[in-house]
Every structure is written in structure tokens, then in C-alpha cells.
């Protein structure tokens, strides 16, 4: 009899032991909201184990962290992995808001950081992380639109000034190809998924002006000649169709490409100013890395222009039990860590120093601009149109453009754009 009971109990041992894990969360003995350790999710797989863990973490712990240590978790497929985690309550304490989370979802996932009217006195790019007047995410650095080049390669092809129009851009790449056959004129980093999205996103405002985002939110055919969305994706198509990119996009290697552009094997990479410091640091030739403005001049002034915008927004997990520690980290990271400066970016902290990627811009007299925020109460409109349209934002759209341009996928550029326009129109009508 006893032994039968033992059998029954023994068979529930597994159940019992994990029920204890299930039922109870670790309790914090420290003051409310402070934890011994917080977890920060980041996409920087390159510097997470080094700079973050060995420099920023300890500096924070010794300073405003009051002994709280920071654990960094980095992900190569950041957006996908973190969005999967966001299906649960466990997605770190501080994280970058992944692509695809719309502003109206911010309150569901993240803790409010303050009112936009207050925080915009301290930080830039506040409206990008705002919903209904409350801020949920702060940009970790600021980027200027443009693209990275290897100055030596461009010079060797006889190019002395940046191209001013998309056609000039293509012509310049062709010059590079002719002058230096062993150099890849433009490397798409297709395999990462996120890198090619710059083509769709980086041209906003250049042809259509600072209100471009709001215009696009209500435009039923943004992929039409002359409009921002069209210019970027059309340029991508042309560049690939003219064979000015790498021969096998599917095996592109992001980390390796940094060294290659530093070396000069790659001449151009269409990524924002945040990439410059990474390319400079990837080899012995930091002086060869330059940054050129988007090849679309302001139609009114005839000058080069650049739109600055926030990088990934840092937010605090609403479900985190470490709200105070997380907030302390976030504030320190934004204001005192020096991250933005080290990335050569525009400092999101108004009082902080700006990075130095833009010396060429100053020489060219490039105009700095910002996109207008959405009208009050309509913060999430643009994001919701994207979502409702079903157009992917994870890179698969641009990958499809590349595949079609290189003949790997059947179809035509016109067909792609017509499809995009019709999907976008659906999204627009969903706004009602």
C-alpha cells in the first residue's frame, strides 16, 4: 500500500519540481524595482561581449547602477528572435524595439518613459518612440541618411564628387567596375535581411520633402516615378540588373564585408552613418571610409540634403520586475555612456557631443533635415498602414527585388511596384 503511494508520488516528482519553478518568480530583496542583475537585449553581436560587457556594464554597475550588474544578450536575427520572445513576458529588461512593432502596440509591451513634451527637452528623435503623447522608446543614437564608400576605390575610378542623381550614381558605379574589375562596386548584404531595407527606407523625404511620411500614409500609389519609395527601390533594381553588385547574394557575409570595404574589395555599401565607425574599425584603413549623401538633391535649393533620424529605440519591458534598475541603465546609456559618439552618430542626448562621420557633409554644404512627426493622435497611422498592407519589413521585399533584378525570380520591376502599390492602397483604406 505504502509502496503504491510511493509510486504515485514518485511519478509526480517531475511535475512537482517544475511546478515550483512555474509558480514563483524570483523575489528581489532589494528596494522596489531594483534588481541584482538586469538583462539588456541588443543586436550588436560584435560588441556585446567586448565593449558592452567589459566597459559599459562595469561602468554602470560602479556608478548609477548601485551594484546592479548588466547581462547582455545579442541576437544575429534580432528582429525575428526578439519578436518571438515578445510572445511571452520574458524579453529582457531593456531592449531595442524590433522592426514591425507599431506605436499603438507600445503600451502593450513597454513601460512609459515620460511625456513627449517633457522628454523632448532632453532628447532628440523623441517622436519616433511616442504614442499618444507618451514616450516608450528612446533612440540609442542618431543616423544621417547617406551611404558608405571606400574613398580610395571611388577616387581610383576618377570620381571626385558624390553623384547628385540616381543616374549619376549608377554611372559612377559603372566607372568603378570598369576601372577596377576585381572590386565589387556595391555590396547588398542580401543575406542579412535587414541591410537591404535601407533602399526602401532611406529615401523618404528627399524628393517629396519633410512631410513625406505623412504624405505616404495617405498616398495610394507611393511606388510611382518621382516619389521617394519608388526612387530608392528603383535604384536598387537598376544597380542589381546592371550587374554592379556581388555575384552571389545569398552567401553575403555581413561581418566579413566590414573588413572587405575597409580593404577596398567593396566600394560601396548602402547603409546609414551608423555603419561608418564599424567599417573604420574593421581594418587598417579607417581613413579610406567615407560617407556620401543620398543622390537626390533638394529640388528647391539644389543642394545635397540628409535626413537625420533615430536609430533603434531603447525601451523597458513592461513586465520587468526591475523597473528602477532598467530606467537607471537606460538613462545612463543615453546620456553618459558615450555610445552614440562612439558610433559616429548624432547624439540623441541634446547635451551630448555628435560623432564625426559627417566631415564630408560639412564640406559639401549638406543640409540637415528631419522628417515631420505625424499629426497629434495619428502616431501609429503610418506603421499601421504598413502592417495592414502586408508588405514585409524584414527585408524579404528588397530580397525579392534583388532576385527579380538578377533574373533569379520571374517577374518585372513594373509588376513588383504595381503589386506594392495595390497592397499599400489596401493598407491605406484600412485606416478608414
Amino acid at each position: 500500500m505504502r509502496k503504491r503511494l510511493v509510486a504515485g508520488v514518485a511519478s509526480s516528482v517531475l511535475v512537482a519540481s517544475f511546478l515550483t519553478v512555474v509558480g514563483y518568480a524570483p523575489s528581489q530583496a532589494a528596494p522596489a524595482g531594483w534588481c541584482k542583475q538586469i538583462t539588456v537585449l541588443t543586436n550588436r553581436t560584435d560588441i556585446a561581449p567586448t565593449t558592452f560587457t567589459k566597459v559599459y556594464g562595469p561602468q554602470f554597475t560602479a556608478g548609477p547602477g548601485k551594484g546592479t550588474t548588466v547581462k547582455f544578450e545579442s541576437f544575429t536575427n534580432y528582429n525575428q528572435d526578439v519578436r518571438t520572445m515578445m510572445n511571452t513576458k520574458n524579453y529582457g529588461d531593456v531592449l531595442g524595439i524590433p522592426v514591425g512593432v507599431t506605436p499603438n502596440q507600445f503600451p502593450q509591451f513597454f513601460s512609459p518613459l515620460g511625456k513627449a513634451s517633457d522628454l523632448s527637452k532632453t532628447y532628440r528623435f523623441v517622436n519616433e518612440g511616442t504614442y499618444n503623447g507618451t514616450v516608450y522608446g528612446l533612440a540609442q543614437t542618431g543616423n544621417a541618411g547617406g551611404y558608405a564608400v571606400n574613398l580610395k576605390d571611388w577616387k581610383a575610378a576618377g570620381i571626385t564628387t558624390p553623384p547628385a542623381t540616381p543616374d549619376e550614381f549608377i554611372a559612377d558605379l559603372q566607372k568603378i567596375k570598369a576601372a577596377e574589375p576585381s572590386v565589387i562596386p556595391l555590396y547588398t548584404n542580401y543575406a542579412t535581411g535587414w541591410a537591404p531595407t535601407a533602399w526602401t527606407n532611406s529615401f523618404t523625404g528627399y524628393a517629396q520633402g519633410p512631410d513625406a511620411t505623412n504624405i505616404m500614409t495617405h498616398d495610394k500609389a507611393p511606388w510611382t516615378a518621382g516619389k521617394d519609395a519608388y526612387i530608392g527601390d528603383d535604384l536598387l533594381y537598376q544597380v542589381v540588373a546592371d550587374k554592379l553588385t556581388e555575384p552571389d547574394p545569398t552567401t553575403t557575409d555581413w561581418e566579413g564585408s566590414k573588413a572587405l570595404i575597409n580593404k577596398g574589395t567593396i566600394a560601396t555599401m548602402f547603409l546609414g552613418s551608423w555603419s561608418v565607425s564599424q567599417f573604420q574599425g574593421a581594418g587598417p584603413n579607417p581613413q579610406d571610409i567615407g560617407f556620401y549623401p543620398i543622390p537626390v538633391k533638394d529640388p528647391k535649393t539644389g543642394k545635397f540634403q540628409t535626413y537625420i533620424s533615430g536609430d533603434i529605440k531603447q525601451a523597458i519591458n513592461k513586465n520587468s520586475k526591475c523597473q528602477a534598475s532598467a530606467q537607471a541603465w537606460l538613462t545612463w546609456f543615453e546620456q553618459d555612456s558615450g555610445y552614440a559618439y562612439s558610433q559616429g552618430g548624432i547624439n540623441p542626448y541634446l547635451k551630448g557631443p555628435n560623432g564625426e562621420s559627417y566631415t564630408i557633409f560639412d564640406k559639401l554644404g549638406v543640409e540637415y533635415k528631419s522628417l515631420n512627426p505625424a499629426p497629434a493622435g495619428h502616431d501609429a497611422d503610418n506603421a499601421n498602414v504598413w502592417k495592414a498592407s502586408g508588405i514585409p519589413q524584414d527585408g524579404s521585399l528588397e530580397q525579392a527585388i534583388i532576385d527579380t533584378a538578377r533574373g533569379a525570380k520571374s517577374g518585372s520591376e513594373a509588376a513588383i511596384f504595381a503589386d506594392l502599390n495595390s497592397k499599400w492602397a489596401n493598407g491605406v483604406s484600412s485606416l478608414g
Binding site: 509510486a7 511519478s11 543575406a191 552571389d248
Partner: protein, 298 residues
């Protein structure tokens, strides 16, 4: 006496508490929930689930990416057929018991035991074009040195070839499993049949056709069924290799992406229901065609 009978009725249930509990929790409950979720447009997080009837299923038929992913299963099934054929050949030959059988067996079977990620990395390096190194990868190198240089292609970059390459990886990986199965089945055929055949001076081909083939019917049927459900449920090799890009995506990759990265649990559940349906239908057909299946375990 009654106490004894009572004990006999209740005791087994005690032993089954945990197994049945787990079965219910992790197999039946998810299946039931799956059907339920598929009729909603739930995003996995929202506490409220909105009923949409069969709208998700209608959407699936119109989604070209899903259809393409489903189409890719054919490559894997084709690979599996080749795999089964080759395995049958090898198993037959190994059953003759020539010297060195164990040696060959070892080499042919070991890939089956290798870690999924390791297998993909092995082939990713093999299929590499020039880029990470100054020269092309092992595959291209080999072809060039065998004078077959014109076959060099972008094994992963060429979307017409990529699925063949991935199916090939699958064959490399799983053929050992089939070989062992077939070999076991052949070796369990009554040796008297072979002796009788030898007396009748039947040659090896006749032996194969009239003794081996019938004797392994069950295992062959099983292998084909596993091939079908396996080719639809492919996930690891294409996902780790390319993340499903370049037209190499599969049904399960799409389901996982839609469910977790796009937060469309309802839609993904509809996909999963379809997948389950296909597998069940195929299994049902098999059980009816090969009625000599011993299903009874009690």
C-alpha cells in the same frame, strides 16, 4: 479477492497519471487549441481573440509564398525517393555479407548521427563560392578537378538549384537511417527462403525480386510514409542554411515565421492544421493499403 481486483483496476491508472497527463497537455491540448486558434486572428499576446471563421484558410490559398513553400516539399520527397532506392541497393548488397561490410556500413550510416547545425555548416562551407576565401569551396573545387568544371554553379545562390542542393544535404544525412532499416528487415527474412532459392539456382536478381522485395514491403511502406510526412515537415536544414531565403522556404519555416515573428498566431494555426491534415491523410492511406500492419500491441 475483491481488494485484489480493485487494485488491478486502479493501479495501472496510477502508473499512467504522468504519461497520460503529459500526453494530454503536450499533444492533445495543443491540437485542440490549434483548431480553435485557426478560427481567430489572434496575435498571440492580446488577451482577446477575435473569431474570423474560416477566413484564415481562404487566405492561405491565395498566398504565393506558402504555395511555393509547399511546392518545395516535392524536392525533398524526390530526394527521399532517391534515398530509399539507394538505401535499398546498399542494404541488399551489404546483406550478402562480403568482407568489410561493417566498415562500409559505418561510413554510410554515421552522418545520420550528426548534429543538425553541424551538418548544415559542413555543407555551407562546401557550397561556398569564392568570397570568404580566395578560392571557391570544396564542391566547386572537386568538380573543377574532375574536369566537370562546367557544372560549377552557385549551389545556394542559384534559386533553381538551391532546393536540389538542400534536398541533397537531406539525402546525405538520412540515408544511413534507411540503410539500417532495410538491412534489419532483409536480415530478418527467413533464411530458408534463400536456401530454397539457391537450390533452384536462382540468381541474385531473382532473389532480390522474389524474396527480398516482398519481405521488406512493410519497411518500404513505412519509409515512404516517413518520406512524405518528412518532406512536408522539413525545417532545420533550410532554416539554418539560408533562413528560408532565395526560394528555399518550407511550410514549417513559413508557419514559424508567421506565428512568432509576425505575431499572426491564428493564421499560422490554420497552416498547422493543414499540415497535420496532410500527414494524417497520408498515414491513413498507408494503413489501408498495407493492411498487414500489426497495429495491435496488446
Amino acid at each position: 479477492m475483491l481488494k485484489e481486483r480493485y487494485k488491478r483496476q486502479v493501479t495501472p491508472w496510477l502508473y499512467l497519471v504522468l504519461p497520460l497527463g503529459l500526453l494530454g497537455l503536450l499533444t492533445y491540448l495543443p491540437v485542440a487549441n490549434m483548431f480553435w486558434y485557426s478560427t481567430t486572428n489572434w496575435d498571440g499576446i492580446d488577451p482577446h481573440k477575435q473569431y474570423v471563421g474560416l477566413a484564415n484558410y481562404a487566405k492561405i490559398a491565395q498566398n504565393p509564398d506558402i504555395l511555393h513553400a509547399l511546392f518545395n516539399s516535392i524536392y525533398y520527397f524526390g530526394g527521399a525517393v532517391v534515398q530509399i532506392g539507394l538505401a535499398l541497393f546498399v542494404a541488399t548488397v551489404l546483406s550478402y555479407g562480403f568482407k568489410g561490410t561493417n566498415f562500409f556500413k559505418g561510413f554510410l550510416v554515421f552522418p545520420f548521427l550528426l548534429n543538425s547545425v553541424a551538418v548544415v555548416l559542413i555543407f555551407r562551407y562546401l557550397f561556398q563560392g569564392p568570397g570568404i576565401a580566395s578560392h571557391a569551396g570544396g564542391m566547386d573545387y572537386l568538380l573543377q578537378h574532375l574536369g566537370l568544371g562546367r557544372f560549377v554553379t552557385q549551389w545556394l545562390g542559384n534559386p533553381h538549384i538551391v532546393n536540389f542542393s538542400l534536398a541533397g544535404v537531406s539525402v546525405w544525412r538520412y540515408i544511413g537511417f534507411n540503410i539500417v532499416l532495410f538491412l534489419g528487415a532483409i536480415q530478418s527474412i527467413n533464411p530458408e527462403l534463400f536456401e530454397a532459392a539457391a537450390l533452384d539456382r536462382a540468381n541474385r536478381w531473382h532473389q532480390f525480386r522474389y524474396i527480398i522485395l516482398p519481405g521488406i514491403r512493410r519497411i518500404t511502406a513505412l519509409s515512404l510514409i516517413l518520406a512524405i510526412s518528412g518532406s512536408i515537415a522539413v525545417f532545420e536544414v533550410p532554416y539554418i542554411m539560408l533562413g528560408g531565403a532565395n526560394g528555399s522556404s518550407t511550410f514549417v519555416i513559413e508557419t514559424v515565421r508567421i506565428a512568432f515573428a509576425e505575431n499572426r498566431v491564428g493564421y499560422a494555426s490554420a497552416l498547422a492544421v493543414i499540415l497535420l491534415g496532410i500527414v494524417l491523410i497520408v498515414t491513413f492511406i498507408q494503413r489501408n493499403i498495407f493492411k498487414d500492419e500489426q497495429v495491435d500491441l496488446v
